[in-house]
């Protein structure tokens, strides 16, 4: 049976790892997980795994679920009044608006913890899988995503290097985890993994640039503070072309990454 990797496939995986019960925190976790997310990270992870290894295995499903749990927890905590104070997320009431702040804090905590539990349910004796787990949680913590949030909230950003640094961590690090974990689970060699990592970092910057253009309020440290919209789109196009060239340098069918680039660029149109 050929696996079709799409949002429905991801949602089935997520449902399989979400515990059942009447706990109010559990209800909040489920609510925030299923609010129409685009599932970019787990999709990229599974597609990369399949492109490299011709099938979805090696623990890719566990890590695809884990990465979406991490992403969802970070959105719940980001939306809290003391953080970005957003009442809505994807057109629906944010977790704390629907369930209260205390529940939202705990639901975020529980989703990060569930990401770990899910990762630990994978093929832990495989050295490759161990490396993928270490990469994922290295990129979600104080050396990755959380460092990016910290930079975004607390540091003055006045140069393009600093804006790149925020984007690389806040947006890029989970994309790096998606592509690198997918490549590892699929069986890519070290030099291929380096190329995937490079692609993912550029994808992160491209994605953040277009996000900044669409909604300059979203990101406190916006690329738009430093460059014109026209210059930024040109830069994102240049990076997208580099990404596509890197894709062509690998022996795999990476059309889905090229499509991701084009879809990203087309968001401003």
């Amino acid at each position: 049976m050929k696996t079709k990797i799409n949002v429905e496939f991801i949602d089935e995986i997520l449902k399989g790892y979400l515990p059942k019960g009447n706990d109010k925190v559990l209800q909040a976790m489920e609510y925030s997980l299923f609010t129409g997310g685009k599932r970019f990270r787990p999709l990229l992870l599974l597609q990369t795994c399949k492109a490299v290894g011709n099938s979805v295995n090696g623990g890719a499903k566990e890590l695809a679920a884990a990465i979406e749990f991490v992403h969802t927890y970070s959105l719940i905590h980001d939306d809290l009044p003391c953080m970005d104070n957003d009442d809505f997320r994807r057109g629906k009431r944010a977790c704390h608006m629907q369930f209260g702040e205390a529940t939202a804090v705990l639901a975020g905590d529980a989703l990060l913890n569930l990401a770990v539990e899910t990762a630990l349910s994978g093929p832990l004796s495989s050295k490759k899988y161990q490396a993928a787990c270490i990469f994922l949680f290295g990129k979600s913590g104080i050396g990755g995503l959380i460092h990016g949030q910290s930079l975004d909230l607390f540091t003055e950003t006045t140069t393009v290097e600093q804006a790149n640094d925020v984007a690389l961590h806040k947006t890029g690090d989970l994309l790096r985890a998606a592509l690198v974990c997918g490549a590892i689970c699929g069986g890519a060699n070290d030099s291929e993994i380096t190329v995937f990592d490079d692609i993912a970092q550029k994808l992160g910057i491209c994605y953040q640039i277009i996000d900044d253009i669409i909604d300059s309020k979203k990101c406190e440290k916006s690329f738009l503070d430093m460059f014109s919209e026209r210059d930024l789109i040109e830069y994102a196009e240049k990076l997208s072309n580099e990404i596509k060239a890197s894709c062509d340098s690998l022996q795999y069918d990476l059309q889905f990454i090229k499509d991701f680039c084009d879809q990203n660029l087309s968001r401003t149109k």
Copy 2:
């Protein structure tokens, strides 16, 4: 060299796993980690490991650090205004009072993530260590500690079974993780692990009962709502005697657990 398992030894381990840097969130993590905690959970974990296996290894140090990171993150989030709204912790300003709420949310998240990173740095290819990691994070999540916090915040507790249930999860589950992970790393067999798990559950209830007596404001669902102080102390003494009998049923020197029981009971005096 004989390892002396004490607070200083634990603090050295914790320092070894805490990243260095200028990140404000990292400063908040360090602040909350080193505010004079008693380190009960890592101490119990390492002492159990040493009692069973005659040395501290098998990943016990990694898990001792991880369990304290989990405990500290849960305190930071517990103290937030939307949760218990405590301005002080162990006589010092709570994390959000010192660094602001946003930083406290991120510091808690980063400590839970650091717990995972630390656990993943252990001997992951060992089946025993894998089982210990799975037990720890099973007990810290929505099936353990967080479920206990949810029960504490959101459900009506009117029976002793319900009060026990809150205590078992909110206080007991990390103690279970401490003793069971220590026993696993030390090389205990399955039936011994079951005895350690039973001891830890009783310790959790004893500890919560005495906490409730000392500070009835600390726990929203207090045993004192249902029983007199005298009855509760009698119950805690009965459980402590059962714990000591269980310790004697095992072939190891578990004086440290008996001491823990006595120190706990003496807190009301």
